[in-house]
Symmetry: D2
Subunit: 197 residues, 4 copies
């Protein structure tokens, strides 16, 4: 039976490259892929998936109000797999419709996405995926200290860590850096002391 | 460096047995374990961890208002590891203090707990663990159909699935049954139709 | 479709307890389990599985020359799952017959066993499982230094590490200790220097 | 402490792409990578790593007789990580020297490679890695039937599965295809019957 997969990782863990490699592997075996992402993320164009390492592909852009069952039946029907990137930006209802497609249409769904925002809180889409995915696995990356990076630190123009603001602020890699929790805490502590002077 | 582990599973996946086995393994190597659980769960006594397979141990009961750093320094100091059961019932703030103990005291923390309630929503404690744990792994169990069970269905006295009510209702195994998402949905659908007659 | 699982771990990682918990979980859902182990391992009786933590169960003892397909059809037919402990002692041919049961009878097979002997070499049964299992996962335990233990050190009566001898020497836990590779190497190095005086 | 990782997968599971992405992630954080592969595999040049999806990089070619500690001290010293592709072709002794570098130089080593040959037997390099790696994880890919592919079937010019011959035969993807064990067995069975006519 088909499954719903959540493959989560920090910023810069190559989630998009992994999504594109999964697509490549399926297509190489003659299978059909429906590639989607939330239209919210239009940094590289709302209908393009682009990885920093140099891979890219055209995808179906999913608006906030889009019913994914309708969209699937219209644009994805007959696919052997659905691959979704930036899944943290889907609404919980959209994740529920992906779950429905897994259960009723028996099509596997691979969701790639961020785990948490810059304040270590789940995004609505990633929360729903942690709740109902059949398989939850981490795409790992490394902190500068050598440990695994798990926190997405947001930096201001001076390179200081920001701990207030809106959850979504799409400014590319130069404003976010993945760290381990220990380094993140230490740096916040250090910069807090610095602010006093 | 020490890590914060979240080992989640459905009802009846032997989470408590796993916690007690982890304790056994550490102690067999001459290491000290601080075993804790939220006092909320007092089905077997607030200070007892008890597994259906027949294992049990005395643990430190953690009240909702307990500061876990203070409690650790008072009762757990010098431990080689902290093992927590029923971690879904910790408050988010208590998970944050466990995170602090990992980062600052360099003591590993193993949290065992449920992923979601009977309506497939995260508990406050499991949500915070999904957000900030270093390692997230599933303790698997099986649905009657043979697939992996991921949903904790709540049953009423007639054995029908309940889809409304309070998040916490501690009534033992006879009122909950772990199922795969597909079987859970099918049974809700079937019982809904039945209700019409 | 059913799968062949290999769940490997070092000495003292609670493999037998895990096998018995898996059995318990299946049976609690009303499913039938065929529990087996190689008759080679008769420390607790050839037809008993016994865990140090205090759990035990009767099992079918598999002789070196036993054809597991025949034995299954005679003694295990109709089971929902086959659970095997001490799988490192099966012959490669016996693992192949378990593989056949998975593919042809569609019965899942869970094999628990050691990864390597006291010289870090695979056992015949574990080698075949690493080659053809569908799922390979580690049952973790801890070295005295706090790292993960992966090597099964054999100790002589004076507590020194042995690096020569027969692969199989069933003497219980008092003669084996699980260590991380780094600690194992350091201790061999240290004891070698000591031997010179 | 540094670890020895074995990331194994079937043919066409994008192992090389994964090795190059790991390299990219380390370098993006300003860390130094020593990229190596056995010189045996010279399909794309002995000193080039090339992925079917379009990624490539220059690497250090390791001869059968190469002492990897010497080579590391000469060419890789000061690296933050060693990344090795096609690790199944290393000799067991070379894997032991990588293990030594992990333990003594505290440098993490990521080994990507095939699990088994076309007859489902371990390669010498992959066998040693299954024996002494700290972390063993699978890079998954899909069989045409939708299940996970685990077997590397070798095909002759007519597309029939070959079950005899030398372990190493580097002829590119057109001669190998990754399958699940069930499909592989069924096809061998079917072609065997076909041969009788």
């Amino acid at each position: 039976m088909a499954k719903l997969y959540f493959k989560y990782g920090a910023m810069g863990s190559s989630k998009t490259a992994q999504a594109l490699i999964a697509k490549f592997n399926y297509e190489e075996r003659g299978m059909r892929v429906w590639l989607i992402k939330p239209a919210t993320d239009d940094r590289d164009g709302a209908d393009v998936l682009k990885s920093r390492i140099g891979l890219s592909a055209v995808c179906y852009p999913v608006e906030k109000t889009c019913n994914l069952v309708d969209a699937y039946l219209k644009f994805g029907k007959g696919s052997d797999v659905i691959i979704a990137d930036e899944s943290q930006f889907f609404t919980p209802e959209q994740i529920d419709t992906l779950r429905w497609l897994v259960d009723e249409e028996n099509v596997p769904v691979l969701c790639f996405g961020l785990r948490t925002d810059f304040m270590t809180h789940l995004f609505p889409g990633s929360q729903r995926l942690f709740e109902i995915a059949d398989s939850v696995t981490e795409i790992k990356t490394v902190c500068e200290c050598g440990a695994k990076a798990t926190v997405n630190a947001r930096l201001d123009n001076d390179g200081h860590i920001v701990t207030k603001g809106h959850q979504i602020y799409l400014g590319g890699n130069e404003r976010y850096v993945a760290m381990c929790h220990r380094c993140w805490q230490k740096r916040i502590e250090k910069e807090k002391n610095y602010m006093l002077f």
